[in-house]
């Protein structure tokens, strides 16, 4: 399926809005350049108001960029209206047509394309099978559960075999469990259909689970773009590190640097770390340490004091103090491990490959 996988390129896209209160113009999206490869699954991730939905709506054609050009399969599409673009969108509210049943909802776009009745019937039936709604063609949309409505919205977009599938926070109205099921579903269907997908979400675990590539946005600009692994392990800055997963930021001072390996002083203890980008000795640096990458031990590493110790079942959760810095630590499978109590002294240990220096 899928006539043709299409790539999207955004070149220096900006969108200016006016603040309704102060009447001042501001950049909702600023100088965003992206290259989305055909057939890939890309998520735009960021807190609300970061401009991710605006980017998506500019790709769909609902908003016009103030600067830059958007290309779909190499063709500039800035001046095209949404109905003339080879994109199909799955809306946050699903936006199913409430006066139509499932079949008519899915067939809507096909009918606009003036396909004959038999083709429409076959296509709709096939796509409903793909999303797991076979036999429900005659149901009205208000007789469906949230998850089912979501599937109709997806089917309705997929059936048009668009060059690009756009998702605007499609799972935010579902309960937590269904969200996990649906995101796996969406990923499966996207892979089966082999379609390019751009997916907006503010949920980092959703983004990690579903995407080939994550684009993190903040304040209208792209903070970092990369695979989920790259973003998790080598975040560009504190914002990205904090937004994706949990992170500790350990402040230290670079003592010496040889190539990309060097020693950093943290609260009086020097530790060897590799993968440090070039900078002057003596400069301040921040280490990103994921809670699950650290452990507590009686000796070695960074001396600390336990200030919180919680049994969470699958892991023991600690807050420890290294000097005046608080560090979160999760120790998995704690059953056969030593449990440190509040007030005890311990040492934070970690592999030097597991920290990332900003």
């Amino acid at each position: 399926m899928g006539k043709e996988k299409k790539g999207i390129r955004l070149e220096h896209i900006s969108k200016i809005y006016q603040d309704p209160k102060t009447k001042k113009d501001f950049y909702a999206v600023k100088d965003v350049s992206l290259d989305i490869e055909p057939g890939s699954f890309v998520t735009l991730l960021g807190p609300s108001g970061c401009g991710k939905t605006t980017v998506l709506r500019m790709i769909a054609g609902f908003e016009s960029p103030d600067e830059g050009e958007i290309y779909l399969a190499g063709e500039p599409i800035n001046a095209l209206t949404p109905n003339k673009r080879d994109t199909a969108m799955v809306f946050q509210s699903y936006a199913l047509l409430p006066h139509y049943n499932i079949f008519d909802n899915v067939a809507y776009g096909l009918r606009l394309r003036k396909l004959d009745k038999d083709t429409i019937r076959t296509k709709v039936t096939d796509i409903l099978k793909l999303v797991g709604l076979e036999g429900m063609e005659a149901r009205m949309t208000n007789q469906l559960s949230g998850g089912q409505q979501q599937r109709v919205a997806l089917a309705r977009a997929l059936v048009l075999e668009p060059g690009v599938l756009l998702f605007d926070e499609p799972l935010s109205n579902l309960d937590a469990k269904l969200r996990v099921t649906m995101r796996t579903e969406i990923r499966r269907i996207q892979q089966e259909a082999g379609i390019t997908a751009v997916y907006v979400t503010h949920d980092q675990s959703e983004a990690m689970a579903i995407a080939d590539k994550i684009i993190i946005m903040q304040g209208g600009v792209v903070s970092q773009a990369g695979t989920p692994r790259e973003i998790y392990y080598t975040p560009n800055d504190e914002f990205v590190a904090d937004f994706i997963g949990e992170a500790n930021f350990l402040k230290g001072k670079l003592l010496n640097l040889d190539g990309n390996e060097g020693e950093i002083d943290i609260n009086g203890t020097a530790i060897r770390i590799s993968g440090i980008s070039k900078r002057e000795t003596g400069s301040e640096c921040t280490l990103v340490l994921r809670p699950e990458s650290a452990d507590l031990s009686d000796e070695g590493g960074l001396p600390c004091e336990v200030i919180l110790s919680c049994f969470m079942g699958s892991y023991q959760y600690y807050h420890v103090k290294i000097g005046d810095q608080t560090v979160k630590i999760t120790v998995f499978n704690p059953k056969n491990k030593k449990i440190y109590d509040v007030g005890e002294r311990a040492c934070v240990i970690f592999d030097s490959e597991n920290v990332h220096v900003l």
Partner: protein, 570 residues
Amino acid sequence: MAKKQSAALDRKKFLADPVMVTTIVVLIAFLALFILYPLAILLVDSFITEEGVGLSIFRRVMGMPNFRKAITNTLKVGFFVGIASTLIGLLFAYVEEYVKLRTRFLSGIFKVVSMLPVVSPPFVLSLSMIMLFGKAGILTRYILHIYDNNVYGFWGIAVVQTMTFFPVCYMMLKGLLKNIDPSLEEAARDMGASRWKVFMTVTLPLILPGLGNAFLVTFIESIADFANPMIIGGSYDTLATTIYLQITGAYDKEGASAMAVVLLCITLVMFVVQKFYLEAKSTATLSGKASRQRMLVKERSVTLPLSILCSVMAVFVIMMYICVPFGALFKTWGYDFHLTTKWFTQVFTKYKGFKAFKDSFILSLIASPITALISMVISYLVVKRKFKGKGFIEAVSMLAMAVPGTVLGIGYIRGFSAGVFRTGFLQGLYGTGAILVIVFVVRSLPTGTRSGISALRQIDKSIEESAYDMGADSLTVFMTVTLPLIRDSFLSGLVTAFVRSITAISAIILLVTPQYLLITVQINEFAEKGSYGIACAFATILIAITYGAVLIMNLIISRFGAGRMIKEEN
């Protein structure tokens, strides 16, 4: 930071949609030509004389004692009716929302009372007022034995208008009271306030802007009302009737134009205050939904007097309406109470009743789908689309709400009798059925637009966007998504337009030519002549028609309307 590119792109996208562009251009032309232009020509007429631009015409009309009197008369009536209607409306609304009624009877008659003014022609109450309280009035002459009671004048107009307009206030205030969160009042009760104290310190302050709003709405209705002052005003002339007489009697077109400008200014000022100050405020203070059901007042000391008071008033109003069909059944009202069908027969044999009903019916029937469609298109454009000229469309269609029918009528006479700007362009329109249809459309447009806008605001924007995204152009989106989703509003707009048109009189009476016989104009004529039997017979048939139309609409909505979809959900 320049928004140039997006503006240019939006324009490009917009122009790629010829149906939309055409619709907007036609719509703007229509509004400009049939709402703005007639008002503009009134200004031109009243400021420009042979000697040039000046206030000489205004000075002349202000010099007329009867005009100055008309201004004070109108304002007096307006204030009285505004206050009285608001208070009675508040009483009814409060009883409905706060008081535990012992029988369903009262809420039943409340419904009837709020329904009656909608389906009846505007001057029905004046007729029955005269028949009940006039010189030959049943109540005054036969029960109270007063033989020279004068119902004509201030009190006649004031009472009749209050009874006509208070249901509007009742409906408005009922909606507001419903939205007050009962826990606010319970909190005050809990802190030790008595019911009266709660009403004065919590409930009343919350709905104060709403009361102001209701007052201004009725005030505007009252001063724009033409039919009631015409029939029951006697020598007590209001602005609307004075303007009418100035052009039909004195044939002073410039003077009438200047007077119309004065009336328009009063309504416009009130309208602006109501629209931009009070309406925003009254919804802002009460935007929340009631968290749960209100504990109703059960004490008999409160419920009994309030329900009796409301019942008496409601029954009185209903009686006034019932009086009209009875008036058509007696030989000579007030003197000879033998039953007869001669008035109904005369309507059709002697007074060309069939033609009158046919003309009114057909013209209204043509006007109502046009009105409904245009108002839905305007609502769609205003709520869902962004384009240059949207502000104009919104403003002008709102402006139509504030224009009294008489003012519009004078504007049409001055604007179209010699063609647009007296060039002869569109002169052919004047005196035809087409211009009557246009007046019907313009007069009903604001109501339809308002209901369309509120219906559309409730529809998630992304539903239309999704259709657009799937490849539909704006016309397809409008026809396959928007219109089906607001079909209730469309259907009720259809009937409201029909009812408003067939019962309209103020603008129409100035524009109708002998070629067309309209029922309302006939009723007005016979009522003025004192032929109450004939007037009542006409009015009865008219009420039957409009009531029938409303019934059919309700039937259609419950069978095919969007309400059915919501029911299925539950």
